[in-house]
Amino acid sequence: MSTTTDRAQTAGPPPAAPSPIARVHVPERSIASELRAIKIVWKRELIRFRSDKLRMVTSLVQPLLFLFILGSGLQRLSSTSTHGVNLKTFIYPGILCVSVMFTAMFSAASIVWDREFGFLREMMVAPIRRSSIVIGKCLGGATVAGIQGAIVICLAGFVKVPYAPVLILEILALQLLLAFSITAFGVMVAARITQMQAFMGVMQMVVMPMFFISGALFPVAGLPAWLAVLNRFDPLTYAVDPMRKLIFDHIHTNPLAQKVLNPGVTWFGWHVPGLLEAGMILLLGIGMLGIAIWEFTTTE
């Protein structure tokens, strides 16, 4: 048709000498392509975290305040009841957990941003499973929160927690586990909440109570009955407790301080072992990841 050539001319100069086209094709879906998708979604979280230096700094402010201001200040009140143990050492596992928790929730919040700024759509229409997107996102969020946790772990020496390699590795593993589970929880919530303000509201409503109830700032034995019940239902309890057990195994204290400050979580008098506690965090994380995947695959 002559009209086509007419238009090609009005459209400006035709492309210079038709260069050989690097033609590609999109292969059928396979496990390898899903793994590639998971990897790039994960990597994107890291790229974004790296480019957001401010976030790295600001998210350190809160744990520092808790540890060194609150910790040092209250030390004077509590020196008799901590039986010679530094209060900062005691609250350290709790502060580590809550800072990981905040970072993980923020990572999950990026799904809400992605939806608002449209990028979620780019991922949703790709020829990959929705579960790959969700898994990539959870692993990415967990990694970012884990890095944040690692920075707090570096502060261990300042609060008289020894840099024993085994201890550090165990704490690192535990906080990574927590980071993964909390991100999964956040992604699960973000699947249904489409507005940032609402998400932030839910976050405040969930994170702060979980933090206060978990025993991050107090021993979990001898609590009033109602608080003990709440405490045993708080998932964060089972992240803080094993971490505190590990730390108290590595510091020199008298038996009384051990008994008062590190009583361990009990169910009807039975001491819950640290491994079981870690297993519960893992199971919860996997369960919430499953729900998140289900939510994303069932939305149109």
Partner: protein, 337 residues
């Protein structure tokens, strides 16, 4: 007759049969049928709310049809969703780039999500970035890009995995006329280079001129489908404006010699006549009034839209906007029960 449908050697790139979509009681698309031939630039034209985006979403596997069927690149949009997705590129109405990432990182992410062979990615990326003139900016974060640059990058991304059909939903919306024109130049050039089918929607009348064929959509239905030339020819008359030494005499002479009804409009004697360009020589020979200037304009697509729907596209837009907000209110109050 549209030239494109003459060669039926290869199966259509898009084939749509009685496709319909309702949201609750709102019928967004009411049974549309059309085929798009391979290599065509096919435009969906209509006011906002006419059902264009809903149609494109069904073809892109983003929305499930309520009834009817459609194939894209030979694959059913419901049963073979992944096969459709592997063969199409998408440029949405709303931006879907990650502003934190650089242009290159955005493209790299896309290549990974689509599983493009790693060894071909750098060459391909260079090629599509060159095509839209963004190679030099590849390392800049997308957040620093202008609206037009972002749109170009999105178009490049849509091309990255060598799709057989590229869908563009309002590719130029919100851009200034100059940028719109350059976007169209890029689209045409890319099409020449890659030999792919392009399906797009627009509500700018002038943009439909860039298409090989146009479907005019109104209230969820296709009211006309043909090449821009044929559509305009169906509307008929061209508009002729003349400046003369004596306008009143000219109007009288037009009525007397040619049986044409002329009016004064914006200081010129204006009348409508089929095949206006061929009429001009007769006009000079037979009018009898000296003519100083003459201007012949062909019917615009706005005229075409008007002739098929009985309303201008702007009015239709306002109407459907009202209808949509009404429907929305109904849905919301219904949902609360």
């Amino acid at each position: 007759m549209p030239g494109a449908s003459d060669h039926n050697s290869s199966p259509p790139a898009i084939s749509v049969k009685s496709l319909a979509k309702s949201y609750g009681e709102v019928e967004a698309v009411r049974g549309v049928d059309f085929d798009v031939e391979p290599g065509e630039v096919f435009g969906f034209l209509g006011p906002n709310g006419a059902g264009k985006t809903t149609t494109i979403n069904m073809l892109c596997t983003l929305a499930k049809p309520t009834s009817g069927s459609a194939t894209v690149a030979g694959h059913d949009v419901v049963r073979e969703r992944d096969d459709v997705r592997r063969n199409i590129g998408l440029v949405f109405q709303d931006p879907t780039l990650d502003g934190y990432l650089t242009a290159e990182q955005n493209l790299r992410l896309h290549a990974e999500l689509y599983g493009v062979q790693s060894n071909l990615v750098p060459a391909r990326m260079r090629q599509v970035l060159d095509m839209v003139g963004l190679w030099e900016r590849k390392d800049s974060p997308v957040a620093t890009f202008s609206g037009g640059m972002r749109r170009r990058l999105e178009i490049a991304r849509g091309f990255l995995h060598s799709p057989r059909v590229l869908f563009l939903d309002e590719p130029t919306i919100g851009l200034d006329p100059q940028t719109r024109r350059s976007i169209w130049t890029y689209i045409r050039e890319l099409k020449e280079a890659e030999d792919i089918t392009i399906f797009l929607t627009t509500h700018y009348m002038d943009e439909a001129e860039w298409c090989d064929r146009i479907a005019i959509m109104d209230h969820g239905q296709i009211v006309a489908l043909d090449s821009p030339e044929v559509l305009k020819a169906r509307v008929g008359a061209d508009t002729v404006r003349i400046h003369t030494a004596d306008d009143e005499a000219a109007i009288a002479a037009l009525a007397e010699h040619f049986g044409l009804e002329a009016t004064m409009s914006e200081g010129a004697v204006t009348f409508r006549v089929p095949a206006g360009e061929e009429f001009v020589p007769r006009l000079f020979a037979e009018l009898g009034v000296p003519i100083r200037a003459v201007n012949v304009s062909r019917p615009t697509l706005d005229d075409v839209f008007m002739s098929y729907t009985g309303t201008s596209i702007r009015d239709a837009e306002e109407d459907s906007g009202k209808a949509r907000s009404r429907a929305m209110m109904q849905m919301m109050s219904g949902g609360r029960r």
